[in-house]
């Protein structure tokens, strides 16, 4: 899902930076909701965990590979805005140190994995967990489905970015200038493998981490938005 440089037209790169710059600004402003006292080590750990699980490339025999991302875990534990910041850190290190994902394409990758994925996954999680007790099964189910939906939607937006490139930029002979595959190739390729394999993988990973938190640190599963009688309200 890490788009390398060269695959996106300059307009696409510019457009995704134009979207992500205000998103990052909003994230910097709203992240504090998820970063109440004591959650910063969790933010750093979640980011490191996300980086590490992305090293586990899972093969489709004879085909391509993919991996879990961990964005919804972060969104659940520190909130989607802080998750956006943490995932952007992960993607920055991957691009700058390891050439995994492009530099021009950095904002495109952040849009998919640091914005679409944590926010949609978190929405699904909250919808299912609602106001149930932190130890309840609904939190587990919400985490699993949130991970599944989040990574699949991120794959979808990535596929759309790939797929519109031949329309945006081609020469007189019809040769693509950037990513060459049209939507009808990119969409099924990216979305199917995530619906069938990497989505379920993300669901299991997300569920396992949330299960650990349920057993050991259930207080961290209470959203910062839900008022806590024990937690002093921060004056705005």
């Amino acid at each position: 899902m890490h788009i390398p440089d060269g695959y996106m037209s300059p307009q696409t790169c510019a457009a995704t930076y134009a979207i992500m710059i205000p998103v990052w600004a909003a994230a910097a402003r709203f992240a504090r909701r998820g970063l109440r006292t004591g959650r910063i080590p969790l933010l750093a750990m979640g980011a490191a965990f996300s980086f590490v699980i992305m090293l586990f490339n899972i093969p489709i025999p004879g085909g391509s590979t993919g991996h879990a991302v961990g964005a919804v875990i972060l969104a659940i534990l520190v909130g989607p805005w802080a998750a956006c910041i943490a995932l952007s850190c992960v993607l920055a290190v991957q691009a700058l140190f390891f050439g995994d994902g492009g530099v021009l394409a950095f904002a495109s990758n952040c849009f998919n994995m640091a914005f679409i994925m944590p926010f949609t996954g978190y929405a699904v999680y909250r919808l299912i967990a609602w106001r149930s007790a932190p130890q309840s099964r609904r939190h587990l189910l919400g985490a699993a489905l949130g991970g599944y939906v989040g990574i699949t939607l991120a794959a979808l937006t990535t596929a759309v970015m790939f797929g519109i490139q031949p329309l945006l930029a081609h020469d007189a002979a019809g040769h693509a200038l950037y990513s060459p595959y049209p939507l009808e190739v990119a969409l099924p390729a990216m979305v199917l493998e995530h619906l069938l394999l990497f989505g379920p993988l993300e669901a299991v990973v997300t569920m396992l981490v949330i299960r650990y938190m349920q057993r050991n640190e259930p207080a961290y599963l209470i959203s910062g938005n839900q008022r806590q009688p024990t937690e002093p309200e921060v004056a705005l």
Binding site: G6, I40, A47, S50, L55, G62, H67, H175, Y212
Partner: protein
Amino acid sequence: MKEKNLKRLWMGIALLVLLAPLGLLLPAAFNAGDAWGEWGSEEIIRRIGYLPRGMMKTAGLWKAPFTDYTLTGNSAGSNIKGSLEYIFSGLLGAGAVALLSYMLGRWLARKENGES
């Protein structure tokens, strides 16, 4: 968060880094290629018969020091050397990511205190 859990989770992450070469060896064992849309220029030419002109210009824009999670940028392959370089990259990357997000988190939290 309890000290004990924090320590245990960090140990878990360290263990995962040691196991990370599986993410290198398994795809090789099952003859799986790159992730969809992450092909190098040779693979692109093999697939579609030409290298898109715009791609040629921007693909090599940034030279990452540890390209493809290797020490030198040249893949040692799915062997012991490649695995060790992968583990090193995992430690380096996880450390960098943790440090960066911790510092950003601290900075944002401090901003909050300043405002309230």
